[in-house]
Symmetry: C2
Subunit: 417 residues, 2 copies
């Protein structure tokens, strides 16, 4: 067994100037991790010949496998392929299966092929081609002095397809990796430093090959145990045992012992109880609905939402009384209570979430500052409400409102479901 390290090199000015957020690297990191490969280093460079070359040199000294994403498009700013050709002393040749794919692609679209599309079928003769069935830029694998270099397109769904269909299946043949075991739990209602104080003894007692990490997000804290070892069964047992100890210690604040997002915790809970939920959203504008419907199969426990961004819609579709809106206003306990009850009745669900608040930057008054949010959770026999004051940026206020509303629903289902 060997501990295998990978490096990721991402190429493209758009990443460095921040026009595009790099989501590829996180995905690759997760997938390699599952195969027992640790991403130890990641570097982003622009579309600059010397920088790419230097990154290849440097990362091949650190890692056994170097993944390169981006810079493979048909346009003039893409220099990665000719660079790799030179780096590995190859010459460009046409890759027939890719050319056939590209031709078929253009025939299907009934569009003429361009010279630049022809060039997309060219690859260095020193690489193994990883056929891309999702696009026109092929993946390429190079080997030198026992190091593996894999070049992938930057378009996320193309990169993922090549990873899943070519790269990941190869890993057991290429490396005698050890095993990595992660277990993650989510807590709510306790800050990072209190949590650290609370589990001090458990953390100190961890063996050297099991590491604890704190991942705070949206006012909640995730705890992750990561173990490394050569025997999968033993490792899993060791990590499971430490995880159980940790879980019991933080039981009071535990939301879930799986590494899944809050909306899926709620979804699984609803599914297990054969119950449904609907939402009535003002300030979150459909974001809770989006989270709930993001996951396959959510239609069994999620029916829909009324996004009543305009107050008139609150009256018309949710029957919030004009008097309530005129006296206490849209951001009030009374309004969210009426919204939750109405959407529960209209959608015929077991539970409902209603939210109304000031997300900012505009819309605040002295009594109702930015970040003030009322949340109501309705069941068939009971409605509860909660007031929050987030006071962050608009996007963060929306996210915090959604995650916290879902967490209140979760607790409500546990107590009343």
């Amino acid at each position: 067994m060997e501990k295998v390290f990978a490096s990721i090199i991402t190429i493209g000015d758009e990443l460095l100037i921040g026009q595009v957020v790099d989501t590829n690297s996180a995905w690759i990191g997760q997938e390699l991790n599952k195969c027992g490969i640790t991403v130890g280093h990641r570097v982003a460079v622009g579309d600059v010949w010397d920088d790419i070359w230097e990154a290849l040199d440097a990362e091949s000294k650190r890692a056994a496998v170097i993944l390169i994403t981006g810079g493979l498009g048909p346009t003039a700013d893409d220099i990665t392929k000719p660079l790799l050709c030179k780096y590995f002393n190859g010459k460009m040749v046409v890759h027939e299966p890719t050319l056939i794919r590209i031709k078929a692609f253009f025939e299907k679209l009934n569009r003429p092929m361009l010279e630049s599309n022809n060039r997309q079928a060219e690859v260095p003769d020193v690489c193994k081609v990883l056929l891309n069935e999702r696009g026109t830029a092929p993946g390429m694998l190079f080997e030198r002095e026992g190091k593996i270099f894999i070049s992938l397109p930057g378009v996320p769904h193309e990169m993922k397809w090549i990873m899943e269909n070519h790269v990941i299946p190869m890993i057991p043949e290429l490396f005698n990796t050890g095993f990595i075991e992660h277990r993650t739990l989510l807590t709510a209602g306790i800050g990072e430093s209190y949590l650290a104080e609370m589990i001090k003894a458990e953390e100190a007692a961890l063996p050297g090959h099991i590491k604890l990490a704190y991942l705070p997000n949206s006012g909640m804290v995730r705890l992750r145990l990561s173990g490394f070892g050569s025997d999968k069964t033993i490792l899993q047992q060791e990590v499971a045992q430490q995880f159980e100890t940790l879980k019991q210690r933080v039981a009071e604040y535990l939301v879930t012992d799986e590494d899944i997002p809050m909306e899926l915790v709620v979804g699984q809970l609803l599914k297990s109880k054969n119950k449904t939920v609907a939402t009535a959203e003002s300030c979150t504008g459909g974001y809770i609905a989006h989270l709930l419907s993001l996951h396959p199969g959510s239609s069994t426990w999620y029916t829909g939402s009324v996004v009543s961004y305009d107050n008139l819609i609150k009256q018309k579709l949710l029957g919030v009384s004009k008097e309530t809106l005129e006296t206490v206003g849209a951001v009030s306990e009374e309004t969210v209570t009426q919204m939750a009850k109405a959407v529960l009745a209209v959608m015929g669900t077991d539970f409902a979430i209603a939210v109304s608040g000031i997300m900012g930057p505009g819309g605040a008054t002295p009594e109702k500052p930015v970040g003030m949010v009322w949340v109501a959770i309705a069941g068939k026999e009971k409605v509860i409400t909660r007031l929050f004051n987030f006071r962050y940026t608009r996007i963060r206020n929306i996210e915090l409102t959604a995650i916290n509303a879902l967490n209140i629903l979760r607790a409500f289902i546990v107590d009343n479901g």
Copy 2:
């Protein structure tokens, strides 16, 4: 004038194993760019002493300013602060203003302070402290051999606050930067390679200090011109002139000449015409509503949505006929037409979007494969429909549906508004 390069070092195992997507770097890249500083290199390392040390050494050779994010929390896995202290030959001292802030923070929450929170007020005596008014971990600025090192917390809103209030205001004092000017336009309905072919002559005629980049996304392509120069006025004129040429060349496919997302293009168009929109969403589950309401001031042109995830809700809230649902089904031209008309009437808007489709992975039939989506756009006098076949992953299908539906609405408003 000097061309000033920055490097970003992000610290944290959670970034490398992909548990967290690095959005900080994109934001920092954008902000520095506006100040004329180019991020030329970015590196992500784990919570590993030697890797962080080595990254500091390497990046200080490349860049004039090195930004470090992450690794500053109160817990045991955070080693960045002691490392920086040693790297710059300092010793730890209590920073009184930060200690006062931390004490006040805990008093306000009525919680006891822990030893670990006390340590958060400690800083190396060789740094300039950048007070963090959004959290307990201060920012720190170090200088060595003319290079600036800035350490920031990894929590995005804390990092942004310190950047906006300390770092960015300092830049004109620290560096005699040149100017960078970006202009971006968005095209739809033409692939990257056709676009490249179309603007070949314009691209070839660009002067050396103005660069063109292609940024394909969601089936559309953004073109970005980036110019660099010492005279702001001249540079802006040069870039504006090239941009105008480019704009005219691609006029037929032009969506917007601003660097804004599709939903804002639609929002600005609606606002300029004093019109409103509502949505009726099935397969996108509230994602279009979320995009429309994400931006401040959207309540003037966006009223709300009915997310009819369940077919019963399509009948009940949108009056889609039972017969339609039983004969042609929910994913049909007839259903989306009825949905669009209904939501337009119920919400009293000028325009409406309705979508219904199969997002996958489940739910497909031979006649209705994954990625098949019907979109209807309603105005007061006319409804148009469009059929799409995306066939990607669930999330990508949702995104593509939303962006393309918004683009059809945009064209519809231009034609019928």
